[in-house]
């Protein structure tokens, strides 16, 4: 979902660079509280994993593919603030080292995938936290749903940005329909990858799953 330069006009690109910078700055401040000797290495590995999995485009329709965005995955494993930073680092490395995602478009790309995607994934996961605490099936379901929603809402970010200042003047309804349709399919892939990843981590190191943190005791007592 990395847009190239030129799809949005210059003022909108700059505006989203500012928005992204503010969001990432806020995340940097808030992330501190969620990072310690144990979770800091985990956060680095989550960013690394998201980079790796983003390389794997999976087919969704003849002639179209999708890849993980990673917002919900990061939010569930390391929390929303650290998670937003994980996805941001991935996007910056992709843009600078691999020419994937434009430079003036970086603000919009960070806004969509790192900020909107992670925040949405986290809000959904948090709302369904009780289900996630009910064991592996519940956690898998919560991971799937929050990842699906994160994909569709992040795609909506592009639709909104294009409506504000997109190049070419294509009818926004047409853009929205394509984006939503394709990303509903990609969201299924995102959901499956997120569910498998999160439940795998939870089965080995449940203490490293942010969403489950502080729930150990009530879970054992079955209150």
């Amino acid at each position: 979902m990395h847009m190239s330069d030129g799809l949005l006009n210059a003022p909108v690109s700059v505006a989203f660079l500012v928005i992204a910078a503010m969001g990432v700055g806020f995340a940097l401040v808030k992330a501190r509280a969620d990072l310690d000797d144990r979770t800091a290495p985990m956060a680095g590995l989550v960013a690394t994993f998201i980079f790796a999995v983003q390389m794997i485009n999976f087919p969704i329709l003849p002639g179209a593919s999708g890849h993980l965005l990673g917002g919900a995955l990061a939010a569930i494993l390391v929390g929303p603030y650290v998670g937003a930073l994980c996805v941001t680092i991935v996007l910056v490395v992709q843009a600078l080292l691999f020419a994937d995602g434009g430079l003036t478009a970086l603000g919009a790309n960070v806004t969509n995938m790192a900020l909107i995607g992670t925040a949405t994934g986290f809000v959904v996961a948090l709302a369904l936290r009780r289900l996630a605490q009910r064991g592996k099936g519940g956690l898998a379901a919560v991971a799937f749903v929050s990842a699906f929603v994160n994909t569709v809402v992040a795609a909506t970010g592009f639709v909104v940005e294009y409506a504000i200042g997109g190049a070419g003047g294509v009818e926004i309804g047409k853009v929205a329909l394509l984006m939503w349709g394709l990303h509903a399919l990609i969201g299924i892939g995102e959901g499956l990858i997120t569910a498998v990843t999160v439940t795998s981590v939870a089965s080995i190191r449940p203490d490293l799953v942010y969403l489950l943190r502080g729930t150990k005791k009530p879970l054992e007592v079955r209150s």
Binding site: A31, P41, A47, F51, A64, H67, L178
Partner: protein, 98 residues
């Protein structure tokens, strides 16, 4: 303790270094949208399009996608680990902080 972290890093290396060869080459959802609507005509070439590892290759050669992936894994791990390690709470009584 450390085994999990090493395993997690190894999985990422395997995905970026090996599984990446099996990735679909078709446009992703956003690319497909801008191509089908003609918006893509306005796309500008990436300023670094000619750089060594552009498009997860080496000098434009797809044979080296795995190598580019491994490099990316190392760079992302180095950057993110450094940042998060620097940002972490350094108080010795971390067990009380929860």
């Amino acid at each position: 303790m450390k085994k999990f972290f090493i395993g997690f890093a190894f999985v990422s290396l395997l995905i970026a270094g090996v599984l990446s060869y099996f990735a679909s080459g078709d446009p992703d959802g956003l690319d497909k949208t801008v191509e089908d609507t003609g918006i893509a005509e306005h796309a500008q070439e990436h300023p670094f399009a000619g750089s060594a590892f552009a498009d997860y290759a080496l000098g434009g050669d797809d044979k080296f996608t795995g190598l580019a992936g491994v490099l990316g894994v190392i760079v992302v791990l180095a950057v993110s680990f450094s940042l998060f390690w620097f940002l972490r709470k350094r108080s010795p009584q971390t067990d009380l902080a929860d």
